[in-house]
Amino acid sequence: MKKTLRLLFFFPLFATTAGAQNNNQTYAEKAAEIQKEVWGTTVPEFATTKVPVNLSNESAVVFAKSYSMQRSLTNKFKFMIITASSTTRALKLTTFHERVKINDKSALEDFSTISYQKRLDESVHILSAKFSMTHDTYIGAKIIKPSGKEVVVNTSEEVLIKNEKNDQVSKLAVSDLQVGDILDYYVSTVDVNENASTDNFADNDMVFVLAGEYPVLYNSYDFQYSKKDNVKHICANGAPQFNISTNAAGDQIYSLKVRDQAKYSSEFWTSKFRQFPYIEISSSHTMGFVKFVSGGKAGESAADRLQANKAIFEGTFTERNIPYFSDVVDRLKKYFDGKKNIKAVPLDSAMKVLYNIRKGMVFGSYSKDDVGKVDEINYRRMSSKFNTVVMSMALNDLKIDHDVLLICSRNANTLDNIFNYSDFDACIRINDTKPLYMFFDDAATHFNEIPQRFQGEKVIVLTPKRESSTKYSFAEGTAVLPVMQAAVNNINEDIKVSLLPANMQKIKIQRLVKQTGLMRHDDQLRLLPVVDIDNILMELSKSEKLEKRLAENPETKKLRDDFSYAFSDDESKSVKKFTSEIKTQYEQEPTQVTDCKIINAALDNSSPVFQYSESFVLDNLVKKAGNNYIIDAGKLAGSFYKLVEKERKRTYDVYMPCSRSFKYTINIAVPQGYTAKGLEEIASKKANKTGSFSSEATLNGNVVTIVITRVYNNNFEKAENWPLLSEVIDASAGFNAQKILFEKKS
């Protein structure tokens, strides 16, 4: 499950149940009770009215914010005519309460409307028994005017934008709210859940990032769980720890208070779940993860949690559940015409074939829905954990020495902060003279290629040993994945430029692009037709033709014509895709786009350079000056990022996509009767430990050749290196302003 940032929270993603609810209360009575409780708070911060001087220019200042959750469990019998069952009824009460000073119209717009799921009843009936799953929301709002007068907002002015018996969605425009007012409002929810299958850690997971759009003077989180609940939590990236206690009833209470929480200002090249403090908490009374390992103690440590997730992963190594690993082995044998021949080839060659076979099996399989979503097919991804298990079993069968690596993405949590089973990935490392990697990712990933989000990351190394068909054991270690050199992730462009004779203020560009390593994926997936990828992957794995595969799949056998049409339609959009790529590069609409060709698809590392070419015309890059012309030479390779002033100071470490390098060779034909001037100004060089930039222009006959190189050495830099990195960025951006004069010969 992908984590989402939770900055404001009105729609709960899960339901819980409670037994203490008074079912005879009307909605209005319950609403009044909650209002009394929330606005009766004695927390002094909820009485604040003054904004600190240093925050007086802020759009809004949150004086106080609190989120509280209370969950209790009771057992319930359900009579179902002739039989009965028991279930656990979970009741969850949450309250989000916020007090905010509105200082401008932008904030007024933000806070002037509250939308919420007023009621949702998803109860199910089994025979005569009803298993409740209900959700109710109660809101309250009051305004404190600059004079101190308090005005309670009439929430019955809400409008129901969905009004069905079991499903009501409401919207309230907050009356009388103006700039300069303080808004004090809350949203309370009551959820009842008797459906045990939805009461699991994944569904009950809550993540709160301790950073928001506005500064928060006081922020509090309080979670109260039944003693029967298994609770797990994380306080990550420097978030303060929970204060954990129990009350007289044995309920587990987790509390956290944060003061003077700065607002989140978005910066590029950051990784939110690595760099911002966050808390994550969840519970389940049915699925204690720790039960797998240590018998079910609550409050387990991060190490226990990691251990529990590893145990689940290791538990998936059951051949009965994944029998098709043998298909992979069989196909390999068939590819080499027998097991003996596999051993006759170098290991890396055999492993590459094995990898491509598995890739082909996954990407060569289509569901009936795919025919209506052809533009999404190229963006499918393999399930890393599942395919790692399949591959490991196949390698075991082939007696290939290998390890299984558990890893987290640089763009998500660390290994130490694994919470749910979906929070980590897996891959294979084959132990040869040099390690060989198998990552199960997108269709453009090669054998022995490490996706950028995993490079440099710490991994847990599991060495599997087959004890039986249902049990594998694992020796454990750690390692760090290598980071590819910048030269491996490269873009090399050959750009031929000429001014159109009929209109010398328009330029024709013929562009040949070569991309390697991690720099090719985006354009491969964007530009390669779906059917081309299918054909190439099938060739690499000697698989069946598309027609046959579709026929053999019950889901798609009647849709062969449909797929054929859809793939053909996708192919016909090739020029549009190239045009879109050009527009992204040059930030203007090209005209006369022709000669768009994929020269090498590079879906295999035997031919790893993705190459394509195109030809087009651009406007507005040539200015006339008397009889002379000035060409914006600095823009012929596209725009390079330019820092704005506030980006020059940086306290966050820099998470770049990958180490990478670029080379642009621009050949500009000097028009007949003209000379080229300004070439010496183009020369520039800057190099430091973070990277480098260089540009140089020379005249060879009647062709001006400009060579530009840019390198970012690392995929990660500490914040203290930001000034050095800025120098490289500035040097690149400075190039964009370069011009060349074509002066008419006298």
Binding site: S106, V371, D561, K739, E743
Partner: protein
């Protein structure tokens, strides 16, 4: 195109047309459209109704086509039955969804949407869909369109009008289409059946900068006038007076409690002696303090919220804001009235009395023989200034039991001004100097709307970014922005600039590109894509003057020729004026007529090309000795 915006400004467009907002899908065609309308007397509910039977046959030209069929309905139009067959069979699990329709312009609306997917799996698959509906009040039966979201190959629309029902039908936009009309008499119902048959109607497509659908698509404006059924007589909108009478009835008691209105009015005008100052104080208060939120709920779609309620809530839609403006002015002793009008989006006027004619409400003020039209939904616009969407529009103003027809004045392009005056000099490798900008009218409104949509701590940065036209090698210092709180006054900004872009040195020569904005440079119209006339968002005047002081010992070696284009609808003028030690660049772009017809697209594109040519010419200066 046109002026760079800080944000996109959302307008109050209350379109009364029932047109689905879905995009046309080129893989599906309506091969047959058959819509039948029949006036009917409902004796049980004692009213005239219109029964509608709308049948479309969809044919796919591709595989696995999934098209969403949708139909609007509301408190006055009910869906009684829906049938759907694909290739002769009702799809498994066929279950239409019914939901509220929402879009960003409307907070809440009683407009509902019924929709369901139509899965046409094979090429040539046929979907046959029929909606049976009832309009429960002839006043709400206003338009019948011949076009749909998809291209229509063959269509037939028939209307059965009993002789006891008086209806006028006006045909719009028939010229460009092949539409044949016939009328027969149905003696058993004593009714006329008017039938329109047509072929090859293109899909209704919402075009940015295009006219509203009433200008383009063939349709009928239905004006239900009256009915005599037995001894019962019903008057709908026989004349404009009837329409006004109905509106007047709706607004009879919408003033609300006068006490808080009087208190507020007194507070706003305290200390002011000049009447116009009082009027402005009230008008600008409503503009600035009442948030625009549109509620459209059946009759509430036409009835304003009570003025005291709008004041209490501090939000309202155009009707509420107009009503509050009127009530506050009346409290202050002025002759203020409610006015109905249709914005430019609508092709009709009050010559055809129908609820389809108007979609907006403002306040009219009669003062010293002049009528002022006060539209509080146009935030930051001054009194005596009018937004393009209402200029020249006919206005129905209340006058007790009677009405007065007026017209919003049309403004000159100069009402809306973006002006920039710079005095620059060469400072090493950059151009430096002082710049001042002035905005008036809707240009000012656009800038102020943008400023107020941004967090106040970011305003200066965003403003600098906007003034630099997105160029990041601009350094702007000493930025001084005039007050943004008085719509009466122009918006001014002054600052010091140092810009690296726009100047290149080659040897001792300087090549200078003075204009960093180059408005309209991307304004070429894609003729193969823009199917209809092009409407500019407003008339406009863009005036730029950049004076460059030449360095000592330098002269202008090459002065660009500029451009001089004057067309009836627009003008582009760029000149360079040489004077001792200075070169002055002057640019004026005028949009005089917001309508650019298709016939003029080629000329427009040619003129934009010439404008770009002028923009792409550099000034060259070099030492006097050279």
């Amino acid at each position: 195109m046109t002026i760079k915006l800080l944000i996109t400004y959302t307008l109050c467009v209350l379109c009364t047309m029932r047109v689905s907002a879905l995009e046309a899908d080129s893989a599906v065609t309506i091969t047959s459209l058959k819509n039948e309308f029949r006036f009917n007397w409902n004796s049980k509910d004692n009213r005239v109704e219109i029964n509608q039977k709308l049948n479309n046959i969809y044919t796919s030209s591709a595989y696995q086509v999934n098209y969403t069929v949708s139909e609007f309905y509301n408190n006055n139009i009910s869906i009684n039955n829906i049938t759907c067959k694909v290739d002769g069979r009702t799809p498994r699990g066929f279950k239409p969804e019914y939901t509220y329709y929402s879009n960003n312009d409307i907070f809440y609306s009683d407009e509902r949407l019924c929709y369901f997917p139509l899965d046409l799996a094979k090429k040539g698959s046929i979907g046959n869909v029929t909606f049976e509906e009832t309009v429960n009040d002839p006043r709400y039966f206003t338009n019948i369109y011949f076009a749909d979201n998809l291209p229509v190959q063959q269509g037939e629309v028939s209307i059965e009008i009993p002789h006891w029902m008086k209806v006028d039908i006006k045909e719009f936009n028939f010229n460009a289409f092949n539409i044949k009309k016939s009328t027969i008499y149905n003696s058993s119902n004593d009714a006329d059946i008017i039938t329109y048959k047509f072929t090859n109607i293109p899909a209704m497509k919402k075009e940015l900068h295009g006219p509203g659908p009433t200008y383009i698509y063939p349709h009928l404006l239905i004006m239900c006038k009256s009915a005599i059924v037995g001894s019962k007589q019903f008057t709908y909108f026989n004349t404009l007076a009837d329409l006004y009478a109905w509106y007047h009835e709706l607004v009879k008691d919408v003033a609300g409690d006068p006490a808080p209105l009087r208190t507020k009015s007194n507070e706003l005008t305290a200390g002011l002696t000049n009447d116009l100052d009082k009027i402005k104080a009230i008008f600008y208060y409503v503009q600035d303090n009442i948030r625009y939120i549109a509620f459209e709920d059946g009759i509430a779609g036409f009835k304003p919220e009570k003025a005291d309620e709008v004041l209490r809530k501090k939000y309202g839609d155009c009707k509420g804001m107009a009503n509050l403006t009127k009530a506050l002015l009346v409290s202050a002793g002025f002759d203020a009235r409610l006015c109905w009008l249709g914005t430019k989006h609508i092709a009709y006027d009050y010559q055809t009395p129908s609820m389809a004619v108007d979609n907006h409400m403002i306040c009219g003020l009669l003062y010293k023989g002049k009528t002022y039209y006060l539209d509080a939904t146009e935030t930051y616009i001054g009194i005596n200034e009018y937004a393009e969407r209402i200029q020249g529009r006919q206005v129905l103003m209340e006058d007790g039991d009677k009405y007065v027809l007026g017209k919003i004045p049309s403004a000159q392009p100069q009402q809306n001004l973006s002006s920039e005056i710079s005095k620059l000099y060469i400072n090493g490798a950059s151009l430096a100097g002082k710049v001042s900008n002035v905005w008036k009218g809707e240009d000012k409104e656009e800038v102020l709307t943008g400023i107020n949509s941004i967090k106040q701590e970011n305003v200066e940065d965003v403003m600098k970014h906007y003034l630099a036209a997105g160029n990041v090698d601009y350094t702007i210092n000493n930025l001084v922005l005039s007050t943004t709180s008085n719509p009466d006054k122009d918006l001014n900004v002054g600052y010091a600039v140092d810009r690296k872009s726009g100047i290149s040195a080659f040897g001792k020569e300087y090549y200078i590109d003075l204009d960093n904005r180059k408005e309209l440079s991307d304004a070429v119209i894609a003729i193969d894509e823009q199917k209809n006339d092009y409407w500019f968002s407003r008339k406009d005047q863009i005036a730029t003057e950049i004076e460059l002081t030449l360095p000592q010992g330098y002269k202008a070696a090459s002065i660009p020729p500029g451009v001089d284009i004057s067309r009836p609808g627009y003008e582009f003028h760029i000149t360079y004026i040489s004077s001792p030690g200075k070169i002055t660049y002057k640019k004026t772009l005028l949009i005089k007529n917001t309508l650019l017809t298709k016939a003029n697209f080629v000329q427009w594109n040619q003129d934009i090309e010439l404008l770009n040519k002028a923009y792409n010419e550099n000034l060259v200066i070099k030492p006097v000795s050279q």
